[in-house]
Amino acid sequence: MCGFAGIFDRAVHGGISPPAELLRDMGHNIRHRGPDDEGIYSEQGFGCVHRRLSIIDLATGQQPMLSQDANLVLVFNGEIFNFVELREQLVTQGYQFTTQSDTEVILHLYQRDGLDFVSHLNGQFAIALWDKRIQQLLLIRDRVGICPLFYTIDQGQLVFGSEVKALKPALSNGLSLSAEALDQIFTFWAPVSPHTIFKNVFEVPPGHMMVVDRSTIKSIQYWEWSYDEDFSQASEEQSIGELHDLLVDATKIRLRSDVPVGVYLSGGLDSSSIVALIHKYGNVPLRTFSLNFDQGNFDEANFQQALVKKLGTEHSNIMVGADDIARAFEDTIYHTEAPILRTAPVPMGLLSGLVKDNNFKVVLTGEGADEVFGGYDIFKEAKVRRFWSRNPNSQWRPLLLKRLYPYLNLPSGNHNVYLKSFFGQALDSPDSVCFSHIPRWTTTAKAKTFFSDDLNSHLRNKAMDVLMESLPSKISSYDAFNRAQYIESKTLMSGYLLNSQGDRMLMKNSVEGRFPFLDHRLIEFASKLHPKTKMKGMNEKYVLKKVMSRYVPDEIIQRSKQPYRAPDVNTGLNTLAGEEFQYYLSDSMLGQSGFFSSGKVAMLQKKAEKGKPLSTSESQALTGILSTQIVYESFVKN
């Protein structure tokens, strides 16, 4: 991965040439994304800067890259994994190459196919392509949102970049936070695309391209994560065979690199599958990296070790405790550029630090399998709740939820009442579009108790309304299971998992993540499967388990799903409730930002300091408030 930024001055008479010094400052703010090289291009009306992390074609892959006639200027972040095949095809058709890079393939594809070129790309990418002849800028983002890309309009100039901090030097009035985006984050964990936490700063939505000229800005969706109403008629055996071949290929093409490639190993099915496939088909040395927690209930070391021993990988791990999370929290938020409600991104940033310390620049991970094949507990939970909704007075149906979440801290006595108070929400409307996610969002939204009156008074459009408006109308026709998958991929995956917990935590240490399960061919294949092939009874990712049973030990195939969780706010010193964060939660700082009620926050802090465990909602609130304050301090106040 790399990083880039740029300016398109849309003034009718051509605009200014963006100064090299300004472009350099923009690139400097994201130098962690590309510490190996810097390239700058500027002409009247357009300028860009590229920061390079050299992974493919180390010798000649520098950017910005110009076409041979110098009419096209390209900056690109990411990887085109099928560039070898595309290049061969283009060479056969007479296109001449001067480099071995995937970047040059993009230029020639655009010359050949115009805007349609993007449909040929299999990869993860953010692209800015300036076509001088027609004075048009394309901003393009990969199908599922692995690579970030932001833009804003500032005094007639379109300013864009891989991270918002790259935009900042070019903004005439700095950045401010959006009350409505905060409301969305405190409901869904991420803003609803294309919004960001920053007012008037937008992301290019996944699967979209922005076509910008001097008079218009068009947003074109070139790919959509969608589901067919007619499911595949293939037999289970055929589906298993097809998935096997797709997964092997998706993994193999993601090993294309001119530097060594490592793998994240969590101990779950998904990462174990990738490790096992590389072992079998990769023809590269296996190098694995794991995260361990000193709190036993979060740790998966036994399963990690089982696979390390079986496959003989060279393995490194990092042990993380609540103190480490507290120490790394501020730096994490500088990189997420967004409030977070759980601490889970922090250990992921520490893990990429381990990868960097071992001189690796690229890791494959199992991210995406739970969204693509329906692995998360929330899908099972929705299934049980739907089953329960058919007989809401049943005494035993809600008890299935207790089996699903054995770690739920339920009081003894009448479980049902408490299960019903949480999971029973929306039980009377099981066909509503967001049925699956209502309990989660309601719990998260409790953190809004701490919003200040001033913030509440600025909320015009409620988070749920904004989300509902963003969903395609055809979602109502999806099967309930697919509907839940769609909502999960649109809210949590692209906005949070691939962003705050993914790209940002990898790139802060100049490490590129690659995600075989998010190969669009796999997504399209899985979208056609009958939901029962994905979750058979309560057996999640059934078809994937069938494929992987020949490569992955039984103990991993058969283990119950453990969601990735990190220790939350803890008691004692050096924690999110500790002294070092008093500054951000002080009356004066809360007053300056104006988002939270200082009286309520003081009571929450007092409760945390007393050493009693916080509830999920309270812990999310404290993490969310603290991270919002850090975003304000880092990007608005300074």
Partner: protein, 82 residues
């Protein structure tokens, strides 16, 4: 009983509603219906009753009939004191 009521109301207001505003909670407001208590909150309430108000709570007594509002909790405490 008044002292216990004052202590109980203060506990619920400060720990779950994060306010000192007495008007934020009526004595008959349902803790569950109003989203004031979740499962962790109930455990905390039981600890408070046991540690601060010397009222032990058995497993089969953890029901909304006993613990779902200020008045219900006070009535429960009253029955335990006899």
């Amino acid at each position: 009983m008044d002292e216990k009521k004052i202590a109980l109301r203060k506990f619920v207001l400060e720990n779950y509603l994060f306010t000192e505003d007495e008007g934020a909670l009526k004595d008959d407001d349902s803790f569950l219906d109003n989203g004031i208590l979740d499962s962790m909150g109930v455990l905390e309430l039981i600890s408070f009753l046991e540690e601060e108000l010397s009222t032990s709570v058995e497993g089969d007594e953890v029901t909304p009939d006993n613990l779902d509002s200020i008045n219900k909790v006070l009535a429960f405490i009253e029955t335990r004191s006899h």
